[in-house]
């Protein structure tokens, strides 16, 4: 099962990673997803994470078919 991974704003520029896909062999926490796709780059303390367009904690597990997004603190309004 595949998952889609997206990065936004300063995080995308800093990591120089485009949106990508990852093949899952078993369930992964979003923190483990980060480790895999960034090749173990340290995660900034204030990174926010969403799965299927909803905020989740880093312990949230994905099992396949999800869209996982990582982004910096929001600055809208």
């Amino acid at each position: 099962m595949m998952i889609q991974i997206r990065f936004f704003a300063s995080l995308r520029e800093k990591l120089q990673l485009d949106d990508c896909e990852l093949e899952l062999v078993g369930p992964l926490s979003v923190e483990q997803v980060w480790q895999k796709v960034t090749h173990d780059q340290p995660m900034p303390a204030n990174v926010l994470c969403a799965v299927n367009l909803e905020y989740v904690s880093l312990e949230h597990e994905v099992t396949g078919g999800e869209e996982v997004a990582f982004f910096p603190p929001v600055t809208g309004g």
């Binding site: 300063s10 809208g76 309004g77």
Partner: protein, 145 residues
């Protein structure tokens, strides 16, 4: 209850007039509260020439609709409207419009502020500022400021 992401400049007052005419609830609301956030030409000691607003399509709309619904559950309101710009904006351009219609002012004021604070702290938008020399991402919004 309406939520919109705009890619082009908008006139908040024209939008309000148009939305309110369509609402057809004149006579029911005694209180309308409106917040308009506009681009300032100055931030953290630097002149800002332009800004690019990025967002997370779909998640943004979902989130704004969710906070509109939360406001409607917490306060007695008749309708609400949120419009938020994305893309390139310049000083004085409107960035966000939040409007709340209610029978009474307490609900209208409190619901409007609730929506704005939730939007500022959790709606997935990001601002990159363009200065005289170089560019930078805005680091974070200040709570309640």
């Amino acid at each position: 209850m309406q939520v919109e992401i705009r890619e082009a400049d908008f006139d908040p007052y024209a939008e309000l007039l148009q939305y309110q005419t369509k609402m057809q609830q004149g006579g029911q609301y005694g209180a309308t509260t409106i917040f308009v956030g506009s681009m300032r030409d100055f931030n953290e000691g630097d002149e800002v020439k332009a800004m690019v607003l990025e967002h997370y399509p779909k998640m943004t709309e979902n989130f704004l609709l969710q906070i509109s619904q939360e406001a409607a559950e917490k306060w007695s309101i008749l309708d609400s409207l949120i419009i938020h710009r994305v893309g390139e904006v310049h000083p004085a351009d409107p960035i966000v419009l939040v409007a709340v219609w209610s029978a009474h002012r307490k609900d209208a004021y409190e619901a409007n502020r609730y929506i704005m604070e939730a939007l500022k702290s959790k709606a997935p938008f990001w601002k990159k500022e363009f200065l005289e020399k170089g560019e930078r991402w805005v680091q974070q919004n200040t709570p309640g400021r």
